[in-house]
Symmetry: C2
């Protein structure tokens, strides 16, 4: 399951991608359009700033904007910034201690395959793709 944090993050990015390039957009506007608590978005936005995905400036006339062109921001990076790792099992997470059972673990290859699929899918879709509705349902 993708938590609301990750989903909200994607929605914020897509929303900003739909605004005029280069403009700083106050979070209040995004929150209103997306019907999400502004306060909660604040926390999420900060994480996105820390991850280098968003830029924020303070004060009157401030707000957020994409730190890179929308087609250079992939969904994978956004989800990872918001949710932490997307590894399906702890032993595949970045910096996890190697599992002792790894050699004899018959299920590990499956999780590895799954993780690879996740990276492949979310890594190949950009915020620009979403904003344009370029993803078709299957």
């Amino acid at each position: 399951m993708i938590s609301t944090k990750g989903r909200y993050a994607v929605r914020v990015l897509v929303d900003l991608a739909g605004c005029e390039d280069g403009d700083f957009v106050p979070l209040r506007d995004v929150a209103e359009r997306q019907q999400i608590s502004e306060k909660y978005l604040q926390r999420i936005s900060r994480q996105l700033v820390d991850a280098g995905i968003l830029e924020g400036i303070r004060g009157k006339g401030g707000g957020y904007r994409l730190a890179k062109p929308a087609n250079e921001i992939c969904v994978y990076d956004v989800l990872e910034a918001a949710e932490g790792t997307l590894a399906p099992v702890a032993c595949l997470a970045d910096g996890a201690p190697a599992c002792e059972r790894a050699d004899l673990c018959k299920t590990l290859p499956l999780w590895e395959q799954f993780y690879a699929n996740v990276r492949e899918l979310f890594g190949s879709v950009s915020i620009a793709d979403l904003a344009e509705g370029a993803i078709d349902c299957v």
Copy 2:
């Protein structure tokens, strides 16, 4: 993330698939081999029985065995039985109320695609595949 419940469930099934066909194996043995609390496995096993994946008989000489041949049990069914839905977002879960924003939701197609990938991968791998180590790392 796949929770331990789901992962343990898969491991139990793979373990049982490695035992003599038709034998009922007491959970204590599985728990010992897999190094998982027997009590916790009890709960999980019950869910798998309810889902028609395992058969259990009580009393001395009892235990569990696969309700179907290992190559007819796919990982998807096991995970779903143990974890509930595998839908990445609530609005795609079985029996979820339709989301009002569905039409204008630019991210929905992405979650649908992801869900389809999950079903495809886990649906195409059987317990027999895992038991034989037929999955290769990528």
